[in-house]
Symmetry: C2
Protein backbone atom coordinates (compact mmCIF):
# COMPACT_ATOMS: atom_id res chain seq x y z
CA UNK A 1 0.00 0.00 0.00
CA UNK A 2 2.82 2.39 0.81
CA UNK A 3 4.07 1.75 -2.71
CA UNK A 4 0.81 3.15 -4.08
CA UNK A 5 1.37 6.40 -2.26
CA UNK A 6 4.98 6.40 -3.33
CA UNK A 7 3.94 6.10 -6.95
CA UNK A 8 1.21 8.70 -6.61
CA UNK A 9 3.68 11.24 -5.23
CA UNK A 10 6.23 10.39 -7.89
CA UNK A 11 3.58 10.84 -10.54
CA UNK A 12 2.79 14.27 -9.16
CA UNK A 13 6.48 15.16 -9.04
CA UNK A 14 6.28 15.69 -5.30
CA UNK A 15 9.10 14.59 -3.06
CA UNK A 16 8.42 11.40 -1.18
CA UNK A 17 8.79 12.48 2.42
CA UNK A 18 7.86 10.38 5.46
CA UNK A 19 5.28 12.93 6.44
CA UNK A 20 3.61 12.95 3.05
CA UNK A 21 3.38 9.18 3.09
CA UNK A 22 1.98 9.26 6.61
CA UNK A 23 -0.60 11.88 5.67
CA UNK A 24 -1.79 9.77 2.77
CA UNK A 25 -1.83 6.60 4.85
CA UNK A 26 -3.86 8.17 7.61
CA UNK A 27 -6.27 9.90 5.26
CA UNK A 28 -6.81 6.80 3.15
CA UNK A 29 -7.57 4.71 6.22
CA UNK A 30 -10.28 7.05 7.47
CA UNK A 31 -13.94 6.60 6.66
CA UNK A 32 -14.68 10.15 7.84
CA UNK A 33 -13.58 13.59 6.76
CA UNK A 34 -10.93 15.32 8.84
CA UNK A 35 -9.80 18.81 9.68
CA UNK A 36 -6.12 19.75 9.33
CA UNK A 37 -5.83 19.92 13.09
CA UNK A 38 -7.39 16.49 13.59
CA UNK A 39 -4.97 15.07 11.07
CA UNK A 40 -2.10 16.70 12.90
CA UNK A 41 -3.17 15.04 16.14
CA UNK A 42 -2.89 11.67 14.43
CA UNK A 43 0.45 12.60 12.90
CA UNK A 44 1.78 13.55 16.33
CA UNK A 45 1.57 9.88 17.29
CA UNK A 46 4.18 9.15 14.63
CA UNK A 47 6.29 12.30 14.56
CA UNK A 48 7.51 14.34 17.48
CA UNK A 49 7.49 17.56 15.48
CA UNK A 50 4.87 18.21 12.88
CA UNK A 51 3.87 21.74 12.04
CA UNK A 52 0.33 22.72 11.25
CA UNK A 53 1.43 24.65 8.15
CA UNK A 54 2.91 21.43 6.79
CA UNK A 55 -0.40 19.70 7.24
CA UNK A 56 -2.28 22.55 5.58
CA UNK A 57 0.15 22.71 2.68
CA UNK A 58 0.13 18.99 2.02
CA UNK A 59 -3.63 18.65 2.23
CA UNK A 60 -4.06 21.55 -0.16
CA UNK A 61 -1.55 20.14 -2.61
CA UNK A 62 -3.13 16.72 -2.57
CA UNK A 63 -6.57 18.26 -3.02
CA UNK A 64 -5.34 20.37 -5.90
CA UNK A 65 -4.07 17.24 -7.59
CA UNK A 66 -7.33 15.42 -6.96
CA UNK A 67 -5.86 12.80 -4.64
CA UNK A 68 -8.13 13.88 -1.80
CA UNK A 69 -11.28 15.97 -1.88
CA UNK A 70 -12.48 18.98 0.05
CA UNK A 71 -15.67 18.61 1.98
CA UNK A 72 -18.04 21.55 1.85
CA UNK A 73 -19.15 22.15 5.40
CA UNK A 74 -21.73 24.61 6.72
CA UNK A 75 -19.17 25.85 9.25
CA UNK A 76 -16.98 26.97 6.35
CA UNK A 77 -13.88 25.34 7.77
CA UNK A 78 -11.49 23.11 5.84
CA UNK A 79 -12.15 19.38 5.81
CA UNK A 80 -10.62 16.72 3.63
CA UNK A 81 -11.41 13.17 2.68
CA UNK A 82 -9.47 10.54 0.80
CA UNK A 83 -11.83 9.34 -1.88
CA UNK A 84 -10.78 6.10 -3.57
CA UNK A 85 -13.11 6.47 -6.50
CA UNK A 86 -11.69 8.44 -9.37
CA UNK A 87 -14.62 9.16 -11.71
CA UNK A 88 -16.72 12.29 -11.24
CA UNK A 89 -19.26 11.78 -8.46
CA UNK A 90 -20.58 13.34 -5.27
CA UNK A 91 -20.82 12.52 -1.61
CA UNK A 92 -23.17 11.76 1.18
CA UNK A 93 -21.94 13.11 4.51
CA UNK A 94 -23.25 11.89 7.85
CA UNK A 95 -24.01 14.88 10.04
CA UNK A 96 -23.59 12.74 13.12
CA UNK A 97 -20.37 10.74 12.65
CA UNK A 98 -18.78 12.51 9.64
CA UNK A 99 -18.71 9.38 7.53
CA UNK A 100 -18.49 10.06 3.81
CA UNK A 101 -20.04 7.81 1.20
CA UNK A 102 -20.20 7.96 -2.57
CA UNK A 103 -23.35 9.00 -4.38
CA UNK A 104 -23.66 7.99 -8.01
CA UNK A 105 -26.51 10.35 -8.89
CA UNK A 106 -25.28 13.56 -10.44
CA UNK A 107 -27.67 15.34 -12.81
CA UNK A 108 -24.88 17.13 -14.61
CA UNK A 109 -26.53 16.72 -18.02
CA UNK A 110 -29.85 18.17 -16.94
CA UNK A 111 -28.16 21.07 -15.22
CA UNK A 112 -25.93 21.80 -18.18
CA UNK A 113 -28.94 21.75 -20.46
CA UNK A 114 -30.84 24.15 -18.23
CA UNK A 115 -27.90 26.56 -17.96
CA UNK A 116 -27.20 26.55 -21.66
CA UNK A 117 -30.69 26.35 -23.12
CA UNK A 118 -32.58 28.20 -20.41
CA UNK A 119 -30.13 30.79 -19.14
CA UNK A 120 -28.02 31.02 -22.28
CA UNK A 121 -24.97 30.75 -20.05
CA UNK A 122 -22.06 28.34 -19.87
CA UNK A 123 -21.65 25.82 -17.07
CA UNK A 124 -18.15 25.47 -15.67
CA UNK A 125 -18.66 23.28 -12.64
CA UNK A 126 -21.19 22.18 -10.10
CA UNK A 127 -21.19 21.18 -6.50
CA UNK A 128 -23.56 18.68 -4.97
CA UNK A 129 -23.43 17.41 -1.45
CA UNK A 130 -25.92 15.41 0.54
CA UNK A 131 -26.26 15.53 4.30
CA UNK A 132 -27.99 13.07 6.56
CA UNK A 133 -27.58 10.15 8.91
CA UNK A 134 -25.66 7.11 7.82
CA UNK A 135 -26.80 3.54 8.37
CA UNK A 136 -24.70 3.09 11.50
CA UNK A 137 -25.97 6.26 13.12
CA UNK A 138 -29.58 5.37 12.37
CA UNK A 139 -29.08 2.02 14.12
CA UNK A 140 -27.49 3.70 17.12
CA UNK A 141 -30.43 6.08 17.39
CA UNK A 142 -32.92 3.23 17.47
CA UNK A 143 -30.92 1.13 19.92
CA UNK A 144 -30.44 3.99 22.39
CA UNK A 145 -34.17 4.65 22.65
Amino acid sequence: MEHDFYRILKGLKLKVTPKRIAIMEIMAAEKTYMSPDELRSKLKQRFKNIGLPTVYRNLEELAKEGVIIKIIHPDRKLYYFYCHRKEHHHHFVCVSCRRVEDITFCGMEEIKKEVEDGLKGHMVSHMLQVYGFCKNCLIKQVVSQ
Copy 2:
Protein backbone atom coordinates in the same frame (compact mmCIF):
# COMPACT_ATOMS: atom_id res chain seq x y z
CA MET B 1 -42.19 47.77 -1.73
CA GLU B 2 -41.05 49.03 1.64
CA HIS B 3 -44.34 47.78 2.99
CA ASP B 4 -43.38 44.27 1.94
CA PHE B 5 -40.24 44.41 4.01
CA TYR B 6 -42.16 45.96 6.87
CA ARG B 7 -44.59 43.07 6.82
CA ILE B 8 -41.84 40.48 6.47
CA LEU B 9 -40.07 41.82 9.55
CA LYS B 10 -43.31 42.00 11.50
CA GLY B 11 -44.07 38.43 10.51
CA LEU B 12 -40.69 37.36 11.85
CA LYS B 13 -41.23 39.36 15.07
CA LEU B 14 -38.18 41.44 14.34
CA LYS B 15 -38.18 45.15 15.10
CA VAL B 16 -38.63 47.32 12.06
CA THR B 17 -35.52 49.47 12.15
CA PRO B 18 -34.38 51.80 9.37
CA LYS B 19 -31.24 49.76 8.93
CA ARG B 20 -33.10 46.49 8.59
CA ILE B 21 -35.34 47.99 5.95
CA ALA B 22 -32.34 49.42 4.13
CA ILE B 23 -30.54 46.07 4.23
CA MET B 24 -33.54 44.33 2.71
CA GLU B 25 -34.01 47.04 0.10
CA ILE B 26 -30.40 46.93 -1.01
CA MET B 27 -30.22 43.16 -1.02
CA ALA B 28 -33.50 42.77 -2.92
CA ALA B 29 -32.36 45.22 -5.60
CA GLU B 30 -29.12 43.36 -6.31
CA LYS B 31 -28.79 40.76 -9.01
CA THR B 32 -25.51 39.56 -7.53
CA TYR B 33 -24.48 38.06 -4.22
CA MET B 34 -22.77 40.33 -1.70
CA SER B 35 -20.36 40.07 1.17
CA PRO B 36 -21.21 41.73 4.51
CA ASP B 37 -18.53 44.31 3.89
CA GLU B 38 -19.82 45.15 0.43
CA LEU B 39 -23.29 45.58 1.85
CA ARG B 40 -21.92 47.86 4.51
CA SER B 41 -20.30 50.05 1.86
CA LYS B 42 -23.70 50.53 0.29
CA LEU B 43 -25.30 51.20 3.66
CA LYS B 44 -22.70 53.86 4.40
CA GLN B 45 -24.22 55.94 1.62
CA ARG B 46 -27.41 56.11 3.67
CA PHE B 47 -26.18 56.01 7.26
CA LYS B 48 -23.24 57.78 8.75
CA ASN B 49 -22.66 55.05 11.33
CA ILE B 50 -23.26 51.45 10.49
CA GLY B 51 -21.32 48.79 12.31
CA LEU B 52 -20.10 45.67 10.59
CA PRO B 53 -21.45 43.46 13.39
CA THR B 54 -24.91 44.88 12.71
CA VAL B 55 -24.60 43.87 9.08
CA TYR B 56 -23.37 40.41 9.99
CA ARG B 57 -26.13 39.95 12.56
CA ASN B 58 -28.91 41.07 10.28
CA LEU B 59 -27.76 39.03 7.32
CA GLU B 60 -27.49 35.95 9.48
CA GLU B 61 -30.95 36.50 10.98
CA LEU B 62 -32.53 37.01 7.60
CA ALA B 63 -30.78 33.94 6.24
CA LYS B 64 -31.90 31.89 9.21
CA GLU B 65 -35.49 32.91 8.50
CA GLY B 66 -35.11 32.09 4.83
CA VAL B 67 -35.58 35.66 3.59
CA ILE B 68 -32.16 35.65 1.98
CA ILE B 69 -29.88 32.76 1.11
CA LYS B 70 -26.26 32.00 1.72
CA ILE B 71 -24.07 31.46 -1.28
CA ILE B 72 -21.56 28.65 -0.97
CA HIS B 73 -18.29 30.04 -2.29
CA PRO B 74 -14.97 28.27 -2.82
CA ASP B 75 -13.23 31.00 -0.82
CA ARG B 76 -15.31 29.96 2.20
CA LYS B 77 -16.32 33.51 3.00
CA LEU B 78 -19.86 34.66 3.71
CA TYR B 79 -21.99 35.83 0.80
CA TYR B 80 -25.70 36.48 0.70
CA PHE B 81 -28.35 36.90 -1.94
CA TYR B 82 -31.96 37.98 -1.79
CA CYS B 83 -33.87 35.27 -3.61
CA HIS B 84 -37.41 36.21 -4.56
CA ARG B 85 -38.53 32.69 -5.27
CA LYS B 86 -39.82 30.83 -2.25
CA GLU B 87 -40.09 27.19 -3.30
CA HIS B 88 -37.12 24.84 -2.88
CA HIS B 89 -34.63 25.31 -5.70
CA HIS B 90 -30.96 25.91 -6.41
CA HIS B 91 -28.76 28.53 -8.02
CA PHE B 92 -26.52 29.24 -10.90
CA VAL B 93 -23.70 31.61 -9.97
CA CYS B 94 -21.67 33.52 -12.53
CA VAL B 95 -17.99 33.19 -11.66
CA SER B 96 -17.26 36.40 -13.52
CA CYS B 97 -19.88 38.95 -12.41
CA ARG B 98 -21.42 37.19 -9.36
CA ARG B 99 -24.91 37.20 -10.85
CA VAL B 100 -27.21 34.61 -9.31
CA GLU B 101 -29.98 32.90 -11.24
CA ASP B 102 -32.51 30.24 -10.34
CA ILE B 103 -32.15 26.66 -11.45
CA THR B 104 -35.25 24.49 -11.42
CA PHE B 105 -33.49 21.14 -11.68
CA CYS B 106 -33.00 19.53 -8.33
CA GLY B 107 -32.81 15.73 -8.29
CA MET B 108 -33.88 15.49 -4.68
CA GLU B 109 -36.03 12.40 -5.27
CA GLU B 110 -33.28 10.44 -6.97
CA ILE B 111 -30.80 11.40 -4.27
CA LYS B 112 -33.18 10.53 -1.47
CA LYS B 113 -33.86 7.17 -3.08
CA GLU B 114 -30.17 6.45 -3.40
CA VAL B 115 -29.43 7.42 0.19
CA GLU B 116 -32.31 5.44 1.62
CA ASP B 117 -32.35 2.38 -0.64
CA GLY B 118 -28.65 2.22 -1.46
CA LEU B 119 -26.92 3.46 1.67
CA LYS B 120 -29.72 2.62 4.11
CA GLY B 121 -29.27 6.09 5.56
CA HIS B 122 -31.58 9.05 6.00
CA MET B 123 -31.29 12.22 3.94
CA VAL B 124 -31.62 15.47 5.88
CA SER B 125 -30.66 18.05 3.29
CA HIS B 126 -28.71 18.61 0.14
CA MET B 127 -26.77 21.40 -1.41
CA LEU B 128 -26.45 22.00 -5.11
CA GLN B 129 -24.77 24.93 -6.73
CA VAL B 130 -23.80 25.54 -10.32
CA TYR B 131 -20.93 27.75 -11.43
CA GLY B 132 -20.31 29.23 -14.83
CA PHE B 133 -20.59 32.28 -17.04
CA CYS B 134 -23.90 34.06 -17.37
CA LYS B 135 -25.38 35.23 -20.65
CA ASN B 136 -24.09 38.78 -20.22
CA CYS B 137 -20.55 37.70 -19.45
CA LEU B 138 -20.49 35.35 -22.43
CA ILE B 139 -21.49 38.24 -24.69
CA LYS B 140 -18.83 40.50 -23.21
CA GLN B 141 -16.20 37.80 -23.81
CA VAL B 142 -17.11 37.53 -27.48
CA VAL B 143 -17.34 41.29 -28.02
CA SER B 144 -13.96 42.00 -26.43
CA GLN B 145 -12.13 39.57 -28.69
